[in-house]
Symmetry: none
Subunit: 213 residues, 4 copies
């Protein structure tokens, strides 16, 4: 029998007597009424990039998918026999919850992208992760990035490119495309620079820092 | 051009001048040294169940996968041609980051599980989510839960069962099983009751509430 | 000549025609083969906290020591000239019976602990009980509980603390410590809340309620 | 982290949904009012001889001390520096709870007495138990029983003798003797024959079977 990690149980007690105590009405109401978030965030699993922390959100506000490198696979017409967690979550958010916004949240120093660009991914024991990251091969090719022989600035370029790639793939989902065309759903790109705390947002073809002034 | 959701930009500025300002050294260090989390959390996309909030964690502490209903698909020996986001993230966490703990974090009033148990999932536009949730058919069968004709208490039973199912499937990954057997990796189950803020943890065959005293 | 208490003789006849009648084979076998319990319980004399009742055990299953306040005195290297009933029972259980588990069973509204915390113990006729309860002076001190001037919540705190104290003292017995280190013996803490029937078990540094679900 | 023994948690759930459910009012009242038992039982730790089972008692009815071989040490005028659990419990029951009866409950095939009579007790690791059982040396001497060279019938003789010995030692406690002389407290001896379920009670100088007719 494993004891629950102390860091988590201590943190939970801190949450319970702090934030939960202050927001208990909101939690109670959300439990009764169900969730009704207007925003979906598709982010990375990275431990430094929590969407709820970066956007300082309250419970009930953002529906969050997190996978390695914040990737959206392309819609596939013929359904394979496999499970598609991210695609399922997109459908659930769009058709089930009627979210109005989907934000792809990338970030700097992404371990998944680093493994890919360094060509370290096809490790013998790491089949799923290799397969998963191979999704971005066309992104690297389009950006003329040479896997295993890359320049330092290529990393950021590829990280930006992956956000754009996921935004594009979102539109390959018929239900997403329809709603975007109807003006009911909006797709956004963002990128968090961990070292400085800067948030870049996709603006036209560029990423620009969000500044408060 | 869509403007970035005001809720998120406002929240980001609040984060930047608040938490980030206070923890900027930690963020800077984490950007330089890379992440080194000891804990992976596999949770649900639900907007009310943020692992970072519930466990009051600091940046760098937990590596987080989130999909609908906190599911871990079984390891498949023959790799299909599809992408497996959750399986990839598990491999990345275990083989790449050497996490010591994996926590499956379930929760009450899970929309994915409700859709499944009410047999509302095969909506025409919702193919991925129907397929995704079909993973838990054996869980419902084992618990003698009749989809579409269920009793109220079946919901919680199924939600608990799904946490156990994901814990079991984790062990179907050879790299996970090996490390668990060596005592290097520990698997935990947890369940968040939104209405009361109670966190249940898997203890033997039961879920018991974590109490601070 | 005192007649045997009617409550006990009536109860005995009820046992004889009821439970004993149904389990007579088990009793016969246990008489022939001797006892072979895997579990030792160290509980309080309190009339409301019978281990056999609370754990609904069968004959032969638990070896039970009961003293005031479920205390385990520390192992003493130099043997005094006095008799140590609890220490003797621990040795008998561990070395003689090879029990695999020792459970310290505390409980709410413990009279011994109440007398201690109210500082009523040094009654002129009550020398042994005063001396016996003085064992928990260091527990109260460590918890910053002021004997004779305590707060209501201190009672439960001290009752929990006494269970932990007994668990710690068990490890001061070399034979216990050796077996625990070898993984052959496991020490547990529990606490019975009489009013609600809730059983708390020691989990890490906390006591959490055992729930069946 | 050890998981709580399944036998005990399963038994507890059985108690909770069974006996506790039926008697919850009694437990609630007993928690509020405190215990007020009229009977104290001093029994053996043996797993086959639970006083609550043999006397089919309800919560609150019997205050129970259990040590190896149901021994009452003699009152000692000069208090040693050691802890006397059984003597403390006697004081607590007599002075604190004003019990009206004290029953010494012996039993057949007592492991402590067997070890003593076979002279196997001074095992190197078993100092406390050796010291504890040495209390009955004068009992064996008085009965002309040769430790290490005994006859089969000596075992029962010694077990009976030990019950008488404990009854005698009870009277060495001034508070017990005073109350017995005043007719406020009554001392009883009993002996449980595990194989047949027969309960013998001390009657004059003999033990006679309690029979319902």
């Amino acid at each position: 029998m494993n004891i629950f990690p102390k860091k988590l149980s201590d943190g939970y007690f801190s949450f319970l007597s702090g934030r939960f105590f202050n927001e208990q009405k909101k939690y109670k109401n959300l439990a009764t009424s169900g969730q009704n978030p207007e925003i979906m965030v598709i982010g990375c699993c990275d431990s430094r990039v929590s969407p709820e922390v970066i956007f300082d959100t309250s419970p009930g506000e953002i529906f969050v998918v997190r996978n390695v490198a914040n990737l959206v696979p392309p819609f596939e017409n013929e359904h394979s026999t496999s499970y598609h967690g991210t695609s399922a979550a997109i459908e659930f958010a769009v058709n089930g919850l009627n979210v109005k916004h989907i934000v792809i949240l990338g970030h700097a120093s992404c371990g998944g992208i680093k493994s890919f660009i360094e060509n370290q991914y096809p490790l013998s024991q790491m089949d799923f992760i290799g397969k998963w990251m191979s999704q971005i091969t066309p992104v690297a090719e389009q950006l003329n990035i040479k896997v295993g022989n890359y320049k330092h600035e290529d990393i950021k370029k590829l990280e930006f490119g992956v956000v754009q790639h996921s935004m594009n793939n979102l539109l390959s989902f018929p239900s997403v495309r329809t709603r975007v065309n109807e003006g009911k759903l909006h797709i956004h790109g963002a990128y968090f620079l961990i070292s400085t705390g800067t948030l870049f947002i996709k603006y036209g073809k560029n990423f620009i820092p969000l500044v408060n002034n």
